[in-house]
């Protein structure tokens, strides 16, 4: 009754009236304290001395803590245990936490935190990826994945190209900054309200930092004001600090980061340096490819391992790479510890192969779409095995690209653009169509599990809880739709309650686009358990055959004779001492993966899409506009088309920001200077394409047995924005009459575009 319908977000009315509670909006007990963090002002230094006397004596200060106050272990609990909560002897980036203060007001805490007198003994610092590669400064060992005989294939290919390009990182810029609000409880326990995508990770980290066990710690999050991967691992630091201060003072402590501190302290999407060699034939078919990825990971491993693994897995995007060699370096740099960000390394991996194919097309002087098409995965077992050994069983990229090529009038518009450019000396248009194939599942197999908890009350109203987090994507709405469908009750009868570690234990991060796949199935399991229980009860209580009982539109038909309402049945079941509470559980089938050999089936299935973007650039300034975008995207059988389209549009614009205006810039001292919206520019309303058409692919049930045959939609659309970058590159290429490949770097800021225009002009002059 609600599946597949464009149901509004369950918090829409709360959002527009300002009544939705985010962590900072919760009522505060009157003895609440406010925290601030004292951070390193040097990129790499030994701490000669840290004098906090002035901080302690500042007005309103109640407590100051350093590593010495940590009652458990001073590390943030990542797999590598390579990042402390508070630095002790050495600081490794500007923004690293050294101490924290709790005071009677936010202002008092922030003012006090600036009063520390820290004597640094500077050490050489490095933020450069290539330098880190040369010095072998890595947070994790490099990885290598090879299929076929790439070296031989390269040597035998009729044409050969090599290249290098740089891909910038990206700040998440969730509108709600990091926040944790810790309340001490009896037994030395602690309750923390936190803006987090992974409460169980925070719970585990806190247990270790506080020297407690997981049972002693409860985290709750009703909603986040955006996350995008930025709140997957990194909230643990802020929850730890708030909890340490709360337990020390035995008062509630709220740590809400100022925006500049948030951007200065927290990790981002990884910047990449990419080198490639490609061999191909006259049709642009890749015969051998070598890719060397090197990413800026920052000071610690955090999630850099799986992020960079995913880059390697997505080196193929939608293309069959018969002979391929991929090396991945995970560089240690004196910068924020980079982390998950929508796409999780996939976007960088895919940009590489798109760049290669774009270069191949320029070299062959043909339409880049033709080259892309020549390299697509095949179907029915032909050219269908990925370089990590997984069969692509559901390939639909040809269908999507064909439909989009036609609906967006690609060929005619391309001809028109080439004609326009011939007559327009300064303004140049460009267009590109790029595909997306994105693997769905956590590559760490054990994360692919979920739990749910469902209560039916005596009046027939229902509380639903699951391990997934609401960060705007509409997960609570989708999962409630599942329960409404299973129990055949109206959505208004269901309240999805805040995610808490004491309701559903050991829940995975809401990440990897898996929220509704996992939690939807877990909730369905719980709903089916209760429905079965109610059916059995009704059969015996009302004396009808269980097989004749039908739940429909809030009514329970007991054979043909009698009908009772869901509320009536719930009431009778309660009176007759039937348990009306159930848990549900799900684990994704089929997946397996050997991290040593990097082979197996890491993904349950793939999500597909494609986009055509048209841009216009000013070759005098590099400024540009995205004029038109057409998207066709695959969400399987949509659970909720309104929410899915929201994910696609939002993901696309976010990806566009990554590849155009969003530039991270560190100065020579290692300080990130783009640490606020005044200097870090995410897209605004005026930046979106003048014509923006987004369609869901029709009639495409997931071949795998996912929740109502839907597909995950959180991350894949971000990569549709590659089309904007390559459209910009196409426009730049027109300056050289499409005869050379512009060395455009990402993000394609006006400066990057002007540099590429100049480089093309220089090349043309050299060749003339």
């Amino acid at each position: 009754m609600s599946i597949g319908k464009p149901i509004k977000h369950d918090s829409a009315e709360l959002h527009v009236t300002g009544a939705a509670h985010y962590t900072d909006d919760l009522p505060e007990p009157r003895d609440t304290l406010y925290a601030a963090i004292g951070i390193s002002q040097q990129a790499h230094a030994r701490l000669r001395s840290v004098n906090l006397d002035a901080v302690r004596q500042a007005a309103g200060v109640i407590a100051v803590i350093t590593a010495a106050d940590i009652t458990g272990v001073n590390h943030l609990g990542g797999a590598m245990q390579d990042e402390p909560v508070f630095a002790t002897d050495t600081v490794e980036y500007i923004g690293q936490a050294i101490f924290a203060v709790a005071a009677t007001s936010v202002e008092a805490a922030r003012r006090a935190a600036r009063l520390a007198v820290i004597d640094y003994d500077p050490l050489p610092h490095n933020l450069d990826i290539q330098h880190a590669v040369e010095q072998q400064q890595f947070v994790l060992p490099s990885k290598h994945l090879q299929r076929g005989q790439p070296e031989t294939a390269l040597q035998q290919a009729p044409h050969r190209l090599s290249g290098h390009f740089q891909l910038g990182g990206q700040e998440h810029f969730y509108l709600e900054g990091m926040i944790a609000f810790a309340l001490p409880r009896e037994h030395g326990d602690v309750l923390i309200y936190s803006s987090t995508q992974h409460p169980h990770h925070d719970q585990k980290t806190l247990a270790s930092v506080l020297g407690l066990t997981e049972k002693d710690i409860v985290l709750e999050c009703r909603r986040m004001g955006g996350a995008f991967g930025g709140k997957e691992s990194q909230p643990a630091l802020f929850a730890s600090i708030a909890a340490l201060l709360a337990l020390k003072t035995q008062r509630p402590v709220k740590l809400r980061l100022d925006r500049d501190d948030d951007i200065t302290i927290t990790g981002k999407r990884h910047c990449f340096d990419i080198h490639y060699e490609a061999g191909f034939n006259d049709a642009g078919l890749l015969q051998g490819v070598k890719l060397v990825y090197a990413s800026r990971c920052g000071i610690s491993a955090d999630l850099s391992g799986p992020v960079n693994d995913r880059s390697m897995f997505h080196a193929d995007n939608a293309y069959y790479l018969e002979h391929v060699d991929i090396v991945s370096h995970r560089c240690k740099t004196n910068s924020q510890s980079n982390t998950a960000f929508r796409g999780f390394g996939g976007p960088q991996g895919m940009m590489a192969i798109e760049y290669v194919l774009d270069d191949v097309a320029r070299y062959l002087q043909c339409d880049p779409l033709a080259v892309r098409r020549a390299n697509f995965y095949g179907t029915n077992g032909v050219r269908s095995q990925t370089h990590y050994g997984m069969e692509v069983e559901d390939n639909i990229i040809q269908r999507i690209v064909n439909e989009l090529e036609s609906s967006a009038d690609y060929q005619q518009r391309r001809a028109d653009i080439i004609a326009f450019n011939r007559n327009s000396p300064w303004l140049k248009k460009g267009m590109a169509l790029t595909p997306v194939k994105f693997g769905i599942s956590f590559t760490a197999t054990f994360f692919n599990q979920a739990g749910a908890l469902l209560h039916i009350y005596s009046d027939g109203s229902v509380q639903l809880n699951h391990g997934g987090l609401e960060m705007g994507q509409g997960l609570y709405t989708k999962v409630a739709q599942v329960v409404a469908e299973e129990l055949q009750i109206p959505l208004s009868q269901i309240r999805c309650t805040a995610t808490r570690t004491d309701k559903v234990p050991n829940a995975s991060a809401t990440a990897a686009s898996s929220g509704s796949d996992l939690n939807g199935m877990a909730a369905q399991d719980a709903a089916r358990t209760l429905k079965q229980r109610l059916t059995e009860f009704a059969a015996s209580h009302y004396g009808v055959d269980a097989a004749s009982i039908v739940f429909q539109d809030g009514q329970i038909h007991l054979g043909t004779a009698k009908t009772v309402s869901f509320a009536h049945l719930a009431h009778d079941a309660w009176i007759n001492r039937i348990s009306l509470s159930a848990t549900g559980f799900y684990r994704t089938p089929k997946i397996h993966y050997d991290p040593q050999t990097m082979t197996g089936r890491p993904f349950y299935y793939f999500a597909y899409g494609a986009a055509v973007s048209e841009v216009i650039i000013d070759t005098l300034t590099g400024e540009n506009r995205v004029v038109r975008v057409d998207i066709l995207h695959d969400v399987g059988q949509s659970l909720n088309p309104a929410l899915d389209i929201g994910q696609i549009e939002g993901g696309f614009i976010q990806g566009m920001g990554w590849l155009t205006t969003e530039q991270l810039w560190w100065d020579n001292s290692g300080r990130l200077r783009t640490h606020a919206p005044s200097t870090y520019k995410i897209p605004v309303a005026g930046d979106i394409p003048t014509q923006f058409t987004v369609k869901l692919l029709d009639n495409n049930a997931n071949v795998e047995h996912t929740i109502y045959r839907s597909k995950a939609v959180g991350e894949p659309p971000l990569m549709l924005a590659m089309s904007v970058f390559f459209a910009l590159r196409d426009a730049v290429a027109s300056v050289g009459d499409y005869r050379c490949s512009p060395p455009l770097q990402a993000p394609a800021t006006p400066e990057a575009i002007l540099n590429a225009v100049q480089a093309v002009r220089d090349t043309m002059q050299d060749n003339a």
Binding site: P6, K8, H9, A12, E13, H15, V16, T17, G18, A20, D24, D25, E107, R110, R114, Y174, L175, G225, G226, A227, F228, D258, R259, W426, L427, G472, G474, I616, D618, L620, T621, G622, E623, R625, A642, I645, G646, E649, G651, F652, I653, Q654, T661, D667, T674, A676, P677, S678, K681, V684, A685, G686, I688, T690, F692, T749, P750, E751, L754, N755
Partner: protein, 494 residues
């Protein structure tokens, strides 16, 4: 009380949800956002950045303008509570009628225009201001009204759609003419009884004098006072730098300082006139500055910030100065009863050094009105993002040609190229007397290297700045000789 004398009040009063509201004594540097969240427990207004750049804290402030109500979207994070005196405040909690959503809110719900919802109250309020001020807005106007609101989730399309559709819901929403009448009555009453403000709390003070005379006395008494108009800069000293500002003196109640007046040959814009009002007046005379107007900060910042403040601040990347320099604008400085006038270009001495004495302030800027001698005026702003960004380079060109298409006078100025907004004298000299054509422009582009040695920073490299500075001159030539090289025309408006 003598005629012309006004009372001094020690508390402020503003309208909130149809009621006069007087906050209990508060620190003079209290921001409106903190007051809303921490004292009124109105948690709908959010802090996203505390620097006026994300819009999550947008509220609407209404005041009287020529007898009717003017609704302005403002950033509560850097607006000082004290400046609300005598005005009306609307927050996201103000809009609903009982359980019924306001048309703006209903349109956003129906268009699926919120995801995480954290930015949503800010969008609601920006759209509410538009809804109140304009009976129907075009897509472009909606987009411009939202230039100060960041959303990281939706990609904006549904929000823009809600902006278009909100008017359709008007008929179903209770008529609020009565409320507006009450509002006008109260605001009019207040306006008829002007008063100055002196708020003191914990050794800090906020003064809002009503006359130049009283302002002069205050400046003399508190030589280290911070002058405040829109607080778009001073607000950040409070929220980001945690500066102690013992004395704040507001220009907003000073009679005459909110006026734009036309004199023989001059447009005079007084110190407390908002950037938005100033630019509307300037663009009415110089339509080629429209793009600069629309790309200058965001609407909430233009609503709060003042042209006088932009000039007095003297940032090398302040966007108003290049255009004003080439127009030959002059500024009037006041200290006590004494005033002096000087060309704007004489005001900027070196980086963060101005020809401004202690206790002296920029009272007005005087811009020549177009006349027979007005030449070809263009101004270009270059930034990473089209809207609400700070310039990498801002260039203004103003040349006069004789009948033979020769340059009789060239006035060229740049922002972002030096420690101050500065005229390009070598470039100007290279053009003077030359034919207005490619060859002269090529030489003038080269001459720019003698005018500027720009810096590399997070906005642009020195090389890019210089290249763009040169190319903009070429662009100016092209556009004044019949070729359109404007993305603005092709992109935004298409």
């Amino acid at each position: 009380m003598n005629a012309g004398e006004v009372t001094v009040k020690h508390s402020i009063t503003f309208m909130l949800d149809g009621q006069a509201h007087t906050p209990p004594p508060f620190a003079p540097d209290t921001t409106l956002l903190n007051y809303l969240r921490e004292h009124l427990y109105r948690k709908g207004t959010k802090e996203g950045c505390a620097e006026g750049d994300c819009g999550a804290c947008t509220v609407v402030v209404a005041d009287l303008q020529h007898g009717s109500v003017r609704y302005r979207a403002l950033n509560a994070c850097i607006q000082l509570l004290a400046t609300l005196d005598g005005k009306a405040l609307f927050t996201v909690e103000s809009l609903q009628h009982g359980k019924q959503l306001h048309p703006v809110q209903q349109a956003l719900v129906d268009c699926h225009a919120s995801q995480c919802g954290f930015c949503t109250p800010g969008f609601v309020m920006s759209l509410f201001a538009l809804y109140q001020n304009q009976p129907n807005a075009s897509r472009l106007q909606i987009s411009q009204a939202l230039s100060g609101n960041l959303c990281r989730c939706t990609g904006y399309r549904p929000i823009l759609e809600a902006g278009e559709r909100m008017y359709e819901y008007a008929h179903a929403f209770p008529n609020d003419d009565l409320a507006e009448t009450t509002l006008i009555t109260t605001l009019t009453q207040w306006a008829q009884q002007p008063h100055s403000l002196l708020l003191e709390h914990d050794g800090k003070r906020f003064c809002a004098p009503t006359s130049l005379g009283k302002l002069a006395i205050l400046l003399e008494r508190y030589p280290d006072a911070t002058l405040l108009a829109g607080a778009t800069d001073v607000g950040l000293w409070i929220t980001k730098q945690h500066r102690d500002l013992p004395t704040l003196i507001s220009l907003n109640k000073v009679a005459g300082l909110d006026q734009i007046t036309t004199h023989a040959g001059w447009l005079e814009i007084a110190a407390a006139v908002s950037l938005e009002a100033a630019f509307q007046a300037i663009v009415a005379h110089y339509p080629s500055l429209r793009e600069l107007h629309e790309r200058f900060a965001s609407l909430p910042i233009r609503n709060a910030g003042t042209l006088g403040g932009n000039i007095a601040n003297g940032s090398p990347i302040g966007d108003s100065m290049p255009a004003l320099l080439v127009l030959g604008a002059r500024i009037r400085l006041r200290k006590g009863d004494a005033t002096r006038e000087l060309p704007l270009e004489a005001f900027y001495l070196a980086y963060q050094q101005k020809d401004l004495a202690a206790g002296e302030f920029v009272e007005a800027v005087r811009i020549p009105l177009p006349n027979a001698a007005t030449g070809l005026l263009r101004c270009y702003k270059i930034s990473k993002r089209f809207e609400q960004d700070i310039s990498a380079v801002c260039a203004a060109f103003h040349i006069q040609l004789d009948a033979k298409e020769r340059v009789t006078e060239a006035r060229i100025a740049y922002g972002g190229m030096a420690g101050i907004p500065k005229r390009a004298s070598h470039c100007e000299a290279a053009l003077s007397g030359q034919a207005w054509e490619q060859a002269s422009v090529t030489a003038a582009m080269k001459a720019l290297e003698h005018d500027f040695q720009p810096l590399t920073d997070m906005r642009a490299s020195a090389t890019y700045r210089m290249n763009v500075a040169k190319n903009l001159l070429l662009k100016y030539l092209l556009e004044t000789t019949g070729e359109s090289v404007s993305l603005y025309a092709t992109g935004v408006q298409a």
